[in-house]
Symmetry: C2
Subunit: 387 residues, 2 copies
């Protein structure tokens, strides 16, 4: 059974996802990648989005660094990395959110994630290119990102007197993931401290008494009784769960592994739609519903995260229920999102599972969650096969 999924996943990654993005996404004229691709891979908007460029640079570099030293993967990583380094930074050192096709700045978010994905992509690419200067650039942006995360007013969002200071799950989880990706023996002291702070902040979002992970809490961890404070993003919490387990495995911390397992279990239990399958985009606690009208839609990335997280828990516990969950989620994901006709994955379904459109890439969806969960799952399935 595991070998069956190994074959399916390898075929999906190397026979479907990679060819689609390698063929349609690179901009060989101006550099970087097109991410707004329709069902057939045609570019419907030629702007460059830094979240996605950073993520794709990371993905191509990761394939090169961990799977095979294929020159075309390195060349693709370089195409994105060069564009980011040349055009991505504003004069004040912040990273733009979007640029024109030829690299002129188009928009800046009041969030830290352009910086995060810049550091993620360039850090992995530096390993592939063996370039210490690029690694230091990534590390520098990471340090700035940590500072920005502690002083959100520097993002152009001054805190007003009625607004509580909050902690958003997205921040410690991405910083923890970045620490996993960027840490080297030379800076392990710095990153150990960062990781410890991230784990502490993630813990504040976990509510064992309710079996739930909250997206937003007060900076001191207190519950906020508003729409934001009651919001649950189950896919996000599942992703944070496996980030935490990766960290815990490194630290050999059994209590933290169990905590990550709980985050994944609880979030899957409330997030999985028992009637139609798929994972709800948003939920709310205490009998509320989220105010977002799209809350019950099924997006591509939560099931990608849940598939890998389930397999990870299976590999750690050997419990059949996790393999069954992996199978259920993967079958749903492949069955609903993969497009055997034109390649790639669709992105967005309504609650019942009907596609809202055929687009393969958007300003927020490209070549990242899907190839990452496939690659990471393949690694686990191979380990199992070798045992």
């Amino acid at each position: 059974m595991k070998n069956k999924y190994l074959g399916i996943f390898e075929n999906e990654l190397y026979g479907n996802i990679l060819p689609f993005w390698m063929k349609h996404s690179p901009d060989w004229k101006y550099g970087g990648y097109f991410t707004c691709l329709d069902r057939k891979g045609r570019v419907y908007d030629d702007r460059k989005y830094m979240w996605l460029l950073g993520r794709m640079v990371w993905m191509f570099s990761k394939l090169y660094n961990t799977v095979e030293k294929k020159k075309e993967w390195l060349r693709l990583a370089k195409l994105g990395a060069d564009f980011m380094m040349k055009h991505g930074k504003a004069p004040d050192g912040r990273i733009y959110f979007s640029l024109t096709r030829d690299g002129r700045p188009y928009s800046m978010q009041r969030k830290i994630f352009s910086e995060c994905f810049y550091a993620l992509g360039l850090g992995e690419y530096a390993k592939a290119a063996g370039d210490k200067i690029i690694y230091n650039d990534a590390l520098d942006i990471f340090r700035k990102t940590v500072e920005l995360s502690r002083n959100p007013s520097k993002l152009g969002r001054p805190r007003l007197s009625g607004q509580e200071q909050t902690s958003s799950l997205a921040v410690p989880m991405i910083l923890l993931n970045l620490a996993e990706e960027l840490e080297t023996p030379e800076n392990s002291g710095y990153f150990a401290k960062i990781r410890k702070e991230c784990v502490k902040e993630i813990r504040m979002h976990i509510r064992p008494e309710m079996k739930v992970v909250l997206e937003t809490v007060q900076a001191d961890g207190k519950f906020i009784d508003t729409t934001e404070g009651r919001l649950v993003n189950p896919g996000h919490a599942i992703e944070a769960g496996w980030f935490l387990i990766h960290h815990a495995l490194k630290e050999n911390d059994r209590e933290l592994i169990k905590l990550g397992q709980n985050m994944i279990d609880w979030s899957f239990d409330i997030g999985w739609d028992k009637k139609y399958g798929g994972i709800y985009q948003f939920l709310a606690i205490n009998g509320h519903v989220p105010v977002q009208p799209e809350w019950n839609m099924k997006y591509f990335w939560p099931v990608a995260e849940a598939s890998y997280a389930s397999l990870l828990l299976y590999s750690l516990t050997g419990r059949k229920k996790y393999f069954d969950r992996f199978r259920k989620v993967s079958d749903y994901a492949l069955g609903h999102f993969s497009d055997p006709e034109y390649g790639g994955w669709f992105g967005y379904l309504d609650r019942q599972g009907e596609r809202v459109y055929g687009l393969k890439g958007t300003p927020y969806k490209a070549f990242f969650h899907i190839p990452r969960f496939l690659l990471y799952s393949i690694n686990l399935l191979k380990q199992g096969a070798e045992k």
Copy 2:
């Protein structure tokens, strides 16, 4: 038939919508209105949203000014207006987007609409209260809003070198509507100029050769071949159409009336879902789909706008097709959104027409589009009855 709808609409406004919001929305302790109300009217988030406060102050004042001098309507308008005047303004004169229940500032948008709805609400309330100072405050905010709309960088959104200067349909249409509401004989020269500029800018969004109204064009009117440039918001375009007709009726401009009619006809033709009914939230031109995953959902306000716009066109042309359209849209709207059990209207349906939740109010939905289209339609239905 018209008398049937007059009865239905009067009952809906005075027997359903008004009682629900008068009972559950006022905050008699701190002033202002609660707008986050669940199906039964219970407050699920107690923050105050300035878009909605301004709109509700306008609505209660309009009822008082044009229907009946009911003291309770004036008292309700005052409850919101006092809160807005006391707490709504930032030190730099901008208007906050949201505040805590007791009036401390919570968030500020990089958009002009908090200012717009401040001016709208206070302008109508000034008439009800007979207070020239409040009217001048509304007018002052309106003037500032016009300035902000011409210098978006003052909103904290500096224009980057790769970004084209754009015109967003939302801006000239709301300013035109505000001119209709705020103009007095003393300042008709100023407002005539404003209205002329708004009409000119709205015209740039109209594409007769494609029979479509675009949300975003370049500042000089050129088409932008991006996701934003191809976007159509049919409900918005229909609302802009009747704003334009109101202006044109005042100016007795037959060409402009015809233009507004075209905007409504084209937008309804592409916006109405012939399979399931309702109006799509977003569409795109040239064979594209919008990137917004929620594009095919059915929101409450586009059908409210389309219902009134159809009746307005019927009253102007006498053509049966417009009354048939009014009937079709109204039957859909009342059948899908009105809640006879607990009062008020639901807000959001999936494409097929199934409710995504029972909430009656949110940070973006309160007591405005629904009572406005009911009141304006009642006025037209009464005129017809008197003919």
